[in-house]
Symmetry: D2
Subunit: 406 residues, 4 copies
């Protein structure tokens, strides 16, 4: 199972490996990029003609990347239109998906088509909040309780601190969690149309510094994030609560649509759903869904979201139920859609165009974006469950996937 | 909390929304792409100059995308070199990261530098397996048990079926799971240097068809995947077991390196680790780690991996311990690195170059790739924990991040 | 692995097994008990001299049991005194533990002794709430949203309904959770000194009937409990939030006490804690603790609590940290202590005496009880971690356990 | 939320509380018990007439309890007979339940009656194993890998060590888990008819001492249990795998039985199951079930099992499905039934009689016991789901429960 390793003799001494680090260039400039590429070519003997053939001015990526060497290219397809009835999304939307996985776009497109024929998906953003959770460690519970008393009396005075920093951030709530002499305060913010992780960090940092400065009882240590906010990871708490946008979407498909577009029956879909829900429970997943990650990763990538947030966004619950009249009810609930339409990568060249294609570029668009995203995810759940229920899954991958050397 | 919706009157009738679906083009060709882009421009009034300015022949993306409209561009930086002592990786490696999140490359680069100075990271691939888990439903437990008896007697005869389909796939094990009259068989494969999800689907489908054909007892239904294999989701079972490659990596940093490169102390790192582990347990995460998703999403994107697998790959355990001599022990364990160096998006233009930069392109490279990936992740865990332990986290994002409109 | 079963031929027909059910006696009376015991002896050939030798008037068990046949006897030991500094518990308490597991009382007694020598345990009840979570299913999200709007406007009017039913119950909060067309409302109550599961059921039922009656939009179905309240099961949500009482307890033990009473060192305890926390994370537990269930099951049994609630009460977080001066900090946090000092089994003969022994019988005592329970649990965590850290664990079970036929 | 505490000034000094510990009596004897009771009465002013009115010779509890002061009495009812078709259980069984929760016995009895009328429950023990999981910490991964190599070559030689200790224990498997420089070895045993936790501790301790003695590479530390075996806690791993006995049970009830005995319909049961499964997923439970803990706690208590194991035994999956002919399929799967019919409390006076009532006393009976237990649990799941589906739940508790002061 495991090959024996020679002992890592010189750990910590720096002698076993003589290489020196690459230079580091925070700002993008031609000189730095050339220096990096020359170094890399010398050291690896490789050339990077495609990566460096960007056709764009690299300077526009400043602030989004360091040690810039080029541009990765990901093929992008389109699905839709998605018909969406929401609180902000209302109408038909074309959705760009960037992926290298054959059959993915085709599958989501099929689901979207079935839902469009059925009159569109109801998709509602239920709740919004982004968290930052500093943790304070005290000598003992007595000190902690004095600090908490001070905090509870003072917590109404934090919004002005935030206002002095951010035009957008609003403190929704600050909830305490005590574990022995550890106090975690979960600060929950409304971050408008930004995904908001940096915004909440900076605001929370200011509040914490104010508290440390003002409160007569000082913690022995504190950290701006105690790793309980669910940042970049699937957690049971974020799944139950909200992180970013919480959206639910539903559709009712007639028996005819299920049969003609999805090539299966409502009864088979219901049966597959029931069986697969038992399976996902056995696997110890958080929530119960099929492949949210596929659609979300491709959408996030095309539209300048933080792709690492797929880790937390890809949880939720999918439900399917056959009705007596042969129709099918299906819904998805995504509590952790941490997305934005300003900030992050949303303003970069292709990303802007993809957001614009969805009519979601800029301020006032993030709820619409989230509602479309949930509708997309529902389309994908329907399509994969149809394929699996009717035995089409394997064939779809054989036909549409790249001829892989298997 | 929730705005009242007008009733979705015409659900299922197709009347409420009159739009027609986009045409669908499985193969990439100029005509199809032009048709799609024209349609989209007409319907949305938008233009897509950057997305379509690909500078490459789109035909090479055939099999990786459908309904192709262009190419998404993601800025890419480099970190390293990472010093790695593994079973397949041995030496120094330059790692490309594609991301739009400012400060990410800088943070991983800093961690890599500290580890290089310390003599390099020990990183070992411990185990490999990719699963496909069909589920069979029987009339009752008696039928199920007869089927199981037949299966147990027959299971040695499946490898020849696989051999007739795939040059690479080897059946490692097939484990049964019974829940009432549901039987799940988890087929575990060695998939060589491919990530392997399609390979295991096709092989398992063939085995299932053989079983259904040959076994005198027939299930009332069966599905090629019962949603228990952990595909595209974080699960407690995959975390405990393996999905793709299971890798652990460790480093010992001297007190001097912790202080000079990471700008903190081993004691603070230890304290932060302890406190944050309590936090992540409280959040109900699977495993206990900081931000594996950041490094993995950027690496997967640059190197043609299935980015949706960030959902499952971003689980594991990070551990940090201060030693009495002031040095710091740190390790990461990633049980679900589902990665490949052939197939999928690995052969596309920029992706090939990025794999080549890591010296990981092609056959015989996937274990090396996984060991470098784990080393990268360890670098990132060290860097973020250092920043959080010493109060640098907020400032790093303020300095390096794009001036966001907060 | 599995023996083949003969087919269960007559399932559903009643013919395969000809036995008739036992008679059913809701009320306890001599005639009924005699009838049951006679039947059982006839059918099984067994006698029950000890079970029926109750020495008490069975009538006092009316309302706590049906189909009464006798009394189970469980040997009971005492530990303590526990020194407790809490919000309600303050002083020294003797704690009765009913168990059949040798070494359990000894282990908790040792931990209690160490903590008493250290000046007593700080134990604080942080929060109280008992939940009942009815679920309402609607035609679609539009109907659901109209119902929610009505509910949000009306929710302040529920307390009078409750007041007409219960002297004690106070509605703390009612939180909605939406999943497609499913609406769950989690009603959280303060239940004074009763564990309160029945109280919250009856109150919630009344509120639900009022809502169904009054709201112009009706659900297509509703159920008084949608299985999300955490009743009788460990859940990530109850662990993060509260169910019953949430209590945290801490102690600081000098190096001398650790050495003399616990026969180990603070450093070893710290190291064991760190290592075992990694282990429990790997196992996919909810929270991270050692053996809360041992102390709680024995305490619940002796004092008339609902022993089935061990399922939910036995989650939490234990933390241990060596200080530089050789002392040891330790804490436990139990968010799901669903306990009472009135109602349930608290008024039965031996149970009353055991509650009285703890000075916790009757009204106004439940918070004190919870604080003592947490202190007990902390004693047990210290004792087992000491044994495991110093290699005493196996021997303790060999010496103190019944000479088991191994 | 939290009252401010006065500072716990004298923690660690022993001065704040002046009480002295109770004396400790490992062996039960009249003198010791009298001494304890006298002390307790003096200190608390309470008397314990019922607790001490045991009517039995306390000496028979030696080895099951320390610091003995008396006997707790729990009222006990009977349900059944349960009709069971299993691999070891075959026929009709009367099941004793010790509880103080009104309505519990009635509910399980109703479920048992429905299943008896339907021809009995199929209940099959699928697998058996009890784990002990020592953890070994090494300097680094290199040392760890050398130890693993030695272990893998040597693992076939452990059974003789076990044979010299135990007549019953058989080592099924020993699986390694690596996390950085931590090596956990999960030893899995067959423990015959004992629950076996002590047996596996003693055997594993002997194997570990052999390994430490013989292997040229020594760990820097090791602990006999790294808290990953699932002992006394619900874990995702034990749920997926097995701990103790793994049993599944199923029944098919005709529409007439559902209607006449359970007072509901199969369709309502199906609907409730579906809805409640969504609820329990939202709560973040391990598995998906209703109230296994109720039946198991009462059964374990009556029959001398370790009641603390309710924490781990109360996980599993319940499934219910309406068939087109109006009948209902239902199943339960319990992977963690850690039970025995010898050892522990099984030989105590009332416990013996209760095991004998089930025809499960002594050697060769544990699989039968587990199959009956699963059938009991299925009866309880059916009864509670029937009550909840048809709106009887609240009334049942109002009618059968003790008139509680609500």
């Amino acid at each position: 199972m495991m090959k024996t390793l020679h002992k890592q003799k010189n750990a910590g001494t720096g002698q076993s490996i003589s290489a020196s680090p690459l230079p580091f260039f925070k700002e993008i400039n031609q000189e730095g990029t050339t220096k990096l590429l020359t170094d890399l070519s010398e050291k690896t003997g490789k050339q990077f003609p495609r990566l460096t053939n960007t056709g764009v001015d690299p300077a526009q990526f400043n602030g989004n990347i360091e040690n810039f060497i080029g541009i990765s290219q990901v093929p992008t397809g389109v699905v839709g239109p998605l018909g969406v009835h929401g609180t902000a999304a209302n109408g038909t939307y074309y959705v760009p998906l960037a992926t290298t996985e054959g059959a993915l776009v085709a599958s989501y497109h099929r689901g979207a088509r079935a839902c469009l024929l059925a009159g569109g998906i109801t998709s509602i953003c239920l709740q919004e909040a982004v968290q930052r959770s500093p943790v304070f460690k005290f000598e003992n519970l007595s000190d902690l309780s004095l600090f908490v008393s001070w905090f509870l009396a003072e917590k109404q005075s934090f919004q002005p601190i935030i206002d002095s920093i951010s035009r957008f951030a609003k403190l929704i709530e600050s909830k305490i969690q005590i574990e022995g002499n550890h106090l975690t305060i979960c600060f929950e913010y409304y971050t408008a149309d930004a995904a908001g992780q940096n915004m909440v960090t900076i605001c929370t940092d200011a509040i914490c510094r104010f508290m440390i400065d003002q409160c007569p009882i000082k913690p022995s240590h504190w950290f701006i994030e105690g790793n309980s906010s669910g940042d970049k990871k699937a957690t049971a708490h974020s799944f139950h609560h909200v992180r970013g946008k919480k959206v639910t979407a539903e559709i009712e498909l007639s028996g005819a649509i299920v049969s003609e577009v999805l090539k299966t029956t409502s009864e088979l879909m219901d049966r597959y759903w029931r069986t697969s829900t038992m399976g996902v429970i056995q696997s110890g997943a958080i929530g119960a869904q099929g492949h949210y990650a596929n659609g979300l990763a491709a959408l996030f990538l095309a539209t300048g979201q933080d792709v690492a947030c797929v880790a937390e966004a890809s949880v939720g619950i999918t439900r399917m139920e056959a009705n007596k009249d042969g129709s099918l009810y299906a819904s998805v609930t995504l509590p952790n859609l941490i997305v934005g339409t300003i900030g992050g990568g949303t303003n970069l060249p292709t990303q802007r165009e993809c957001l614009a294609l969805m009519d979601c570029l800029g301020e006032g668009m993030s709820i619409k974006y989230a509602e479309i995203a949930a509708a997309l995810v529902l389309s994908g759940e329907l399509s994969i469950a149809a394929a699996l229920s009717a035995g089409q899954f394997t064939q779809a991958h054989q036909k549409l996937g790249r001829k892989k050397s298997i």
